[in-house]
């Protein structure tokens, strides 16, 4: 990986050359994502980057779509918590023309009012699609309620109400503020060398305004972790199984606890041989999948567990999962489990870095999260050096099975009676389509 920093006009430029395929991938991160959505205007940054893609330079939306499709190229735009992403892909022979179109999207988006209004209507329709997918519903409600008021709890795609609150003048102002060279991470991967990447990188930013990068939205000074267990039933009719999301706020990726938390995540729910998969799926046949995930972000984010048991065993599956989580926090890992997790992660590194695009993704994520260059690769050595005592101390201090939010997407009448034992004053039932 070649880092050019500062790159053209203060942007960060990353290049990962690999010439075995006639393809080039471009990824541009505009730092500061949905965590910086204005209060009550969830979906703001997603709307901003999507709207920028709907007409730019001399081309209205259809002309821009056609110009890209004619090249066989794609440019997809979305916002995640910490950045807006513009990801392009094309045949090497079309790179020059693709870069010209992306430069237009960055510097001269039309931001037309009719497209703005159309996009809001389209985003509302997309919310209906999410409501039709139970696993996405579980995640959406979990994000919202894990730590009320947390910037990472803002829904990326917005809500009916927040979409209505997006104002075009605010979008235009935000675009002028955030799409400046110093706020950009530009990455090229594939059939491109360093000189060409530098040339194209310069072209991408040459028409952007001279301005300093805006301050990052605060994500560390966050509301405290809610105490006690909370149960949220998302009531949807005619469900045969339940989608469960269980978890709490965890340390920041990149903190001192990182190697230990990754090992806990791996052994508890990050492999097929992990504890969750073995107990829930292999021994009992209760769920097709059972895993856990620690969110890698710029600030503290969630540690969450997911499974989908049939209605008849939902209560038993939830009870077992919570008991296993308690045991993990209290007793940690065994020496054998730790050694196994370390071996798996060391061997698995080659897959995470197998293609130019994956290596570029990793480098951009590191940069967005304000991590040191090469942080992810260096982690392998750190994880190999972690002791059992360190891992288990981290389990005790960073995992909080007594303070979890349990989201259950199911038919409430079918699961509520059997879930009495996790119910508390904080138990809540909501219709699946109200958010």
């Amino acid at each position: 990986m070649i880092h050019i920093e500062p790159g053209p006009r203060g942007a960060c430029l990353l290049v990962e050359s690999q010439h075995d395929l006639p393809m080039v991938w471009i990824q541009i991160a505009i730092v500061g994502g949905a965590a910086g959505d204005p209060p009550g205007v969830d979906g703001f940054h997603h709307h901003l980057i999507q709207l920028a893609r709907r007409g730019a330079g001399p081309r209205a939306r259809l002309a821009l779509d056609t110009a890209l499709d004619v090249l066989g190229a794609t440019v997809e735009c979305w916002a995640h918590r910490d950045a807006m992403i513009l990801a392009g892909l094309c045949l090497r022979r079309n790179l020059d023309r693709l870069c010209a179109l992306i430069a237009d999207i960055l510097a001269e988006p039309t931001l037309a009012r009719d497209e703005h209004e159309k996009l809001i209507r389209e985003s509302r329709r997309r919310l209906d699609d999410v409501r039709d997918e139970d696993d996405q519903l579980a995640v959406r409600y979990f994000q919202r309620d894990c730590v009320p008021g947390h910037p990472y709890g803002r829904t990326l795609r917005g809500t009916e109400a927040s979409l209505s609150a997006i104002d075009l003048a605010d979008i235009e102002a935000a675009h002028r503020r955030v799409v400046v060279p110093e706020n950009l991470i530009i990455g090229f991967a594939g059939a491109i060398d360093e000189d060409d990447a530098a040339r194209y990188g310069a072209r991408l930013v040459e028409r952007l305004p001279d301005a300093p990068a805006p301050p990052l939205p605060p994500v560390s000074d966050v509301p405290p972790r809610p105490r006690g267990r909370r149960l949220l039933i998302v009531d949807k009719p005619e469900r045969q199984q339940a989608q469960l999301a269980i978890g709490h706020l965890a340390p920041r990726y990149g903190s001192d606890e990182t190697p230990a938390v990754i090992l806990l995540e791996t052994v508890f729910g990050g492999m097929f041989t992990s504890r969750l998969m073995q107990e829930i799926r292999v021994k009992r046949g209760w769920s097709y999948g059972a895993d856990c995930h620690w969110y890698r972000s710029r600030g503290p984010h969630w540690f969450s567990i997911h499974l989908a048991p049939p209605v008849e065993v939902t209560a038993d599956a939830l009870a077992l999962t919570l008991r296993m989580f308690e045991e993990l926090a209290r007793d940690g890992l065994s020496a054998e489990e730790l050694a196994f997790g370390q071996r798996f992660l060391a061997g698995n590194l080659a897959f995470q870095q197998a293609t130019a695009r994956r290596r570029l993704d990793q480098a951009i994520r590191e940069r967005i999260s304000s991590l040191e260059r090469g942080f992810s690769s260096a982690l392998i050595e750190q994880m190999a050096a972690v002791t059992l005592d360190e891992v288990n101390r981290t389990a005790e201090t960073c995992l909080h099975p007594g303070d979890v939010l349990c989201v259950v997407v199911a038919t409430a009448d079918d699961v509520l009676p059997s879930l009495q034992y996790v119910q508390s004053a904080a138990t809540c039932v909501v219709p699946y389509d109200f958010y």
Binding site: L62, V70, A350, A354
Partner: protein
Amino acid sequence: MTWHLDAEHTLGQSLRVRRYVLANGLRIVLSSDRSAPIFSYQTWYRVGSRHERPGATGMAHFFEHLMFGETANVPAGEFDRLIEAAGGDNNAATWRDWTYYRTSLPAAELDLAVRLESDRMRHLTLSDDQVETERGVVMSERQERVDDDIDGFLDEQLDALAYRSHPYGWPTIGHMNDIRNLKRRAIGEFYRTYYAPNNAIVVVVGDIDENQALAAIARAYGDIPAADIPAPGAVDEPAQSEPRLATFTRPVAAERLLVGYKVPGLGHPDWAVADFISALLCSGPSSRLYRRLVVDTEMASSVDGGVPPFRDPALFRFSVNLARGRQATEAIDAIDAELQALAETAVPALELAKIKNGVETDFWTEMEDCDGKAENLGHYEATLGDFSQLFAVAERLAQVTDDDIRRVAATYFLPELRTAVVARPSEGQPS
């Protein structure tokens, strides 16, 4: 051990593929790719849900789950443990025409993959406990992907409505009652019938020495006897002469539509033309149906289309998520109009060129890593008996003409050949 080189194909400077055949009929497809210190080891069996019978649907997929269990030489759970201890991972998939198993490992672990895969081709043991636990997992998978999933539900209904006798009419995952009732003895019989070297293809792509890999595979599989593989019977699917439509009430926010037209199988020259038509209509934001349904009329939140790569005639599908208050019939009319336009009006040269660039991009994107390359090679070898058809189909796509499009649109995409299923919101759902 004896083997012979059976076929060779090169593409550019980075891809050379060779197929060898052992005396027992096992086919071995090898391609060295040193771009990363890993490899993908895939075993494709030419058995899928088309080889099942009514009342025992889901057998091929259920068995796929059981292949990760105990063998005479490897205790229960050890297969996954050995793979993950090396940093690798594995998975499997079953579809209409095939079942395949993928193991991805660091380069130094080729012997492990060869040992584990050759062992389970022959020595799997099926305990009652294992079968019963896995039955629960498969039922849970079905609930998640079909019964509680609107797309999976409609997919299943569309196939059932479109096919009257062909096994493509039943779901690969199987009907819930059949999954519940599959017997261990019948499962064992299925294994002995179809899991044999002359019904299998081993595909290895990645950081390998081709000669060493070939020798290791020949040593491990060479003495596994061939079996008498029953040929799937020819199925006479009656010709459709009227449109078919079924509607269902489900807890969805707005109507959902799935439309199918039977088009020729992957080996037929018209398959590539049908694939091309799916791109014209649904691939990319400037595609015709996307513009019409999502952008211009705002009738839908999404539209998707595609033709599955099956051996026999398969259902070309359009999938439309309607906006609240809009009717599926409106979308059907719009689809009909676009198909009729393709049958009657020339496609501009620029639009043809656009699709060809997009197809080329997709081709290379699917070949980005070892798993993708091996999956493509294995699919064509298992479905059509020749991995090099992967490249032949890509060439056909690059040569599609306006005449081809008009002819295929006028032949297969007629209103009387349409099958459609619609999900409507339950009473009390938002409108």
